[in-house]
Amino acid sequence: MPDILDPYRPRASLLHRADPRVKVVVAVASIVVTAALPLGAWPSYVLLLAAILALAVSARLGVGFTLTRGLIAAPFALAALPLVFSTPGAPLGSLRLGPLALDATVPGLERFLSVLAKSYLSVQFAILLTATTRFTELLAAVRALRVPRLLVAVFGLMWRYMFLFVHEVNRLRIARDARSADIGPKSGGTLAWRARVTGGMVGNLFVRGYERSERVYQAMLARGYDGEVRTLPMGRLSASQYGILAGSMAILAFLAVLGILFG
């Protein structure tokens, strides 16, 4: 049963089996290239989307899943909306809000849509990465890529206890809602009271977290923890993995050149 907090979808696929270090590097490179593509480089955008869909299908993630998960950043699109009206060029139409005339332009719309497209594509790469890679492998990859061990250890332990505390929060929320009958316009207490209740819950979580961390520390000590972060090393990359890496980079380079030519 998929967990809302865990994006990993176990399947048997090439993408799932690929070395996590390669996947992380390719995903990040893809996002960088996508961001660097000029606005309006539609051929590149389309080809990237095609590549993403192909990967999603080969990883058995489902086209529908892929397409809809990408909409997560959609609300932020509003931040770029002014581009439609602020870019000079061939007029598209006018929006009248009272005494106000906002002139939309064709280049403006193109710019806005480009930002949306690039954002959507970038999110897809991140989704592909996390859906096909176990979190513990992501950690190992990130550690191999020289992120400080202390930070990675904190990530790992945080992830482990994230589920516990989210579970806790859900319980607290249910308990709070059970006691918060909506009986009309005067119900719900004052804003200050509601905030204090919520603040109290957060404070409660904090204290419990602190106490939990004491016990976890003791459990770590009992098994030999000495302040150092120790892990098993990842093996060397095989030739085929290097092949995947090189191939992906070549494709990205091609799409980048294509984008510059047609952007």
């Binding site: 332990l157 976890v216 098994r223 098993l232």
Partner: protein, 239 residues
Amino acid sequence: MERAPLIEVDNLSFRYPDGQQALNGVSLRVYEGERVAIVGPNGAGKSTLILHLNGILGSEDGRVRVAGLPVAGEHVKRVRALVGLVFQDPDDQLFSPTVFEDVAYGPLYMGLPEGEVRRRVSRALAAVGMEGYADRVPHRLSAGEKKRIALATVLAMEPSVLVLDEPTAGLDPRGRRMLIRLLGTMTQTMIVSTHDLLMVRDLFPRMVILDRGRVVADGPTADLLRDQALLEAHGLELP
């Protein structure tokens, strides 16, 4: 029979920083191969005593010795490999992202080479009947599964002594029976702190009653369980 005790506690007293006097001159000797249950009401000091056995709590005055080593200073690391402590709440014990990493933690921190670490993980998981669980994530396990994996995390260190804090707490009857059966198969010297007197009667021939930081009784389980007055005086009850 003049063999040296594996665990020796000599007139141990302990006061928490907030002033609570948890232990008051506790003395205890456990020999190799014994199975001892420490029972007593809440607040008796059972957990505090246990935390002294591997140096998580303690002072430097050598009042606790394991295999002849004082549980202090440079010896603490060795002691922690000898004394495997299983905590009451498996969510405290299972702190790694996967079962494999949790069970591998002990051997890894003992400095063992990778091949040996992997071997020990397989053996430990097999010993608790949890083969195939290596890639699982701890937050998806049931309470019984967590308890068994928690035991595996300690078994992987191949300790001489197993110390368990409330092993059957929080388990449903089936989980409890499985765990008791599992504990029965363990060959190590074993010390438990528990309220579960039925388990004590079945598995632990020796019983130590702790109350208000003092040892009030230390003897054969069968005899002590017959002494109703003694049990009642210290908040114990045979169901």
